[in-house]
Amino acid sequence: MLDFFTIFSKGGIVLWCFQGTGVTESFTGPVNALIRSVILQERSGNNSYSHDALSLKYKLDNEFELVFVVGFQKILTLTYVDKFIDDVQLHFRDRYKNELEQKGALALLNSHFAFEDDFKMLLREAEESSKARGPTSMRSFNASLKSQKTVKSMIETKGGDKGKEQGGKKNKNAKKEGKGEKAKASTSAQKTEENGNQGLTQEEIIQKKREEFIRKRMGAPVEKPSKSPKPVKEKPKGKEKRVWTLGGSSTKELDYSQSNGNGAHAAGDQGLDAQADPVCAFLFKMFLSPKKGAFGGMFGMLKGLVGSKSLSQEDMEPVLDKMRDHLIAKNVAAEIASQLCDSVAKKLEGKVMGTFTTVASTVKGALQDSLVQILQPKRRVDILRDVLEARSQRRPFVITFCGVNGVGKSTNLAKISFWLIENGFTVLIAACDTFRAGAVEQLRTHQRRLNSLHPPQDHGGRPIVQLYEKGYGKDAAGIAMEAIAYARNQAFDVVLVDTAGRMQDNTPLMTALAKLIAVNMPDLVLFVGEALVGNEAVDQLVKFNQALADHSMSDKPRLIDGIVLTKFDTIDDKVGAAISMTYITGQPIVFVGTGQTYNDLRSLNARAVVGALMKA
């Protein structure tokens, strides 16, 4: 029932693969899509992904740098897949430990991994275990709880104890009932565990709770004498002696001095390792260790300090929590920070640390790498080159600016047009903000200033910046279309379309924006966001993208292509908004606005931003 299963190294070489019967398509495409959208975009928090009709589940093995991916049809709900991947991973690791442990890729290239038989056996086991729990049949009325209660017990009396539904009938059939219930309870508990991913239905929750209640009651009534068939109020039995779980009757259990010496030390190891400086920790442990019988413990300590200690979830927990709080303090949106930390935890789980490295340094390094990776653009960002390309095709390059109110769209539009005219391109500004008072006049002022900086005499008598406006109150999409046609006729190189600011919840305005973009098909749709925004960035971008996707007629809707991060000079090092925005959309930050004059336009330097973010 599986479509395919592959095991490949993180360097890209496929070690072993299995293709289900009757499946003809190659799995390379879906797996590559999985890698690109999940692993490389740091979304590996949840381990499943869907691509077309396939649903993919994966597991990373960080110790030997392997990835295990299984694919099956989305419409099937297979319950054994998670446990199956874990089993396959453990089996593969144990069997091929020698080849995998060697450094360098030669061992992987030269060895042949004949894993089919093991895989088939594991698959059979997994399928059988899922089939073993047959469909549970409905209970008949006699077997249910309701038949045990007398009618009187079910009548609610004012101030009565409707909780104490101890029917006499129930006590008689109690024992017989108990066994059947217990068996059913265990199987259905197992079933609900397996169905963890599917979720419990309301019925099953109620049934489970009922069974627990019965089980608790079953324990007690065996001792109580069942006298009358009438509902008996449960008398308090008098104070029972309290039993402490950890308290023994003798003091011998409290003596931890000999055999548990190493165990106590192992627990101590974990705590110290995670926090203290490694050399200090080593010395501290050395002084603490008792002299006799602790050589094994000492070597274990040494081993733990000098490499070959693999990271587990518990080790990373405190460090990741601290990093999450640090990121949130630096203005990264809260859910993005937690998703990032989960993804880093997944990437580091099981990894073997080097010598004299602490958990904190490993986690910080991994987090820094992921942040740089997120901020790196996933496609080529070179606006001038694209403008030249459009010019050679004799069409204008259209850039549209959208965003909420007051983020700096018109200001940054002016800055970008200054940059373009400095490089010798002619610019047409389309005033599609027909709502805000003074929007058109603002753009006209910018046009005059830019023209005075680059007078028309230098460019063959033609003004290098022109404004296309139709006043206020008109339809923005229509103005944009006319502006683009005018630019094509007059051979302008670039058209910059300024739109009105709108809140992401305002549906009619979002529809209007989506219509403008869908009708005019601009070359670049830039979302302008300010660096001061916090958690709002997530909401804004998600809703903008959603609106653009919903209202476009084609099956490949134009979404946001790039981000302009404005007001960057107002934040010192709380640069988290950059991370939130690029993480949500996956699109690069094309421009950074750092002030209000025409020269205050920059590009993003990923390393500098991450450095400022990770700085204490």
Binding site: K10, G12, I35, K378, R380, E389, W419, F591, N605, A608
Partner: protein, 272 residues
């Protein structure tokens, strides 16, 4: 009067020694006051420090000896398959690489020299970090190009090549560059000559647009290395490093089980 010059000489000699005399005497006294073992201890520790410093310098300088050949290129250009073919000759299915892979490679020449072959991931978000990590150790770079879809990707290919060539470390070390036009088994593949011409034209344009690009927000500007000669059209022959274009096919014309068509690549690697 013969003694006078003698006396003068003595006086002069005395005068010369005099400025040093008091210092030497003081030093001798201080040294004699100290415990000899203490002095020996100090001398030994100084010697140890000096030896360690020399040793470390030697070791650290050894690391930056260039002994690696990097396989770079865009995503899906065939680097990992080429890596597998060069090292083991086998065909392996590949997926998008997330990390680098490295292995020692024995070149097919009389000397039998061996160096390390490193396969870097080509995905856009990983490329800059891995190039940053390995560029100082590179003695040659094999730039793999997908010849079949070259027309669509020409701007991306040129931008990456420009990024590599204008890097400060690369322009200082001048590793030789081999541009391997891969996937020649596909019928629509472009020839190496055509790819070379197109890349030269594109780099010409890139010189202009890249130098006009915006500086970064903390003030650091991009690379200021100018490629080729000013005033003339860009040609690969103007570069300070050796550039070679060749054709190859990692998959091979006979499909997965056949041999790969990488003879010319192996020959060039042997010449390094």
């Amino acid at each position: 009067m013969a003694t006078e010059p003698g006396i003068n000489m003595e006086a002069k000699i005395d005068a010369r020694e005099n400025p040093f005399e008091p210092y030497l005497d003081a030093l001798k006294k201080v040294l004699e006051d100290q415990d000899p073992i203490f002095m020996i201890g100090i001398v030994v520790s100084l010697a140890v420090v000096v030896i360690t410093v020399v040793f470390l310098k030697y070791i650290l300088s050894r690391k930056t000896v260039q002994s690696a050949v990097l396989l770079v290129g865009l995503c899906d250009s065939g680097k990992t398959l080429l890596f597998s073919r060069l090292l083991s000759g086998k065909f392996k299915k590949t997926q998008t690489s997330i990390t680098d892979s490295s292995a020692p490679y024995k070149a097919k020449n009389e000397r039998g020299s061996s160096w390390i072959l490193i396969d870097l991931p080509g995905h856009d978000s990983l490329r800059p970090q891995y190039v940053e990590k390995f560029k100082s150790a590179a003695r040659a770079m094999v730039f793999v190009v997908d010849s079949a879809i070259f027309q669509k990707e020409v701007r991306d290919v040129a931008e990456f090549l420009y990024f590599l060539l204008t890097d400060s470390v690369v322009s200082r070390n001048v590793p030789s560059l081999i541009v391997a036009c891969n996937k020649q088994d596909i019928t629509m593949a472009k020839s190496a000559k055509l790819i070379r011409q197109q890349l030269e034209k594109e780099m010409n344009t890139l010189r202009v647009t890249r130098s006009a690009a915006l500086s970064a927000q903390d003030g650091s500007a991009g690379a200021s290395v100018h490629l080729g000669k000013k005033g003339k059209d860009f040609e690969f022959s103007q570069l300070p490093m050796k550039v070679e274009f060749l054709e190859c096919s990692a998959r091979g014309s006979k499909g997965e089980d056949g041999e790969a068509d990488i003879a010319s690549l192996e020959k060039s690697l042997a010449k390094l």
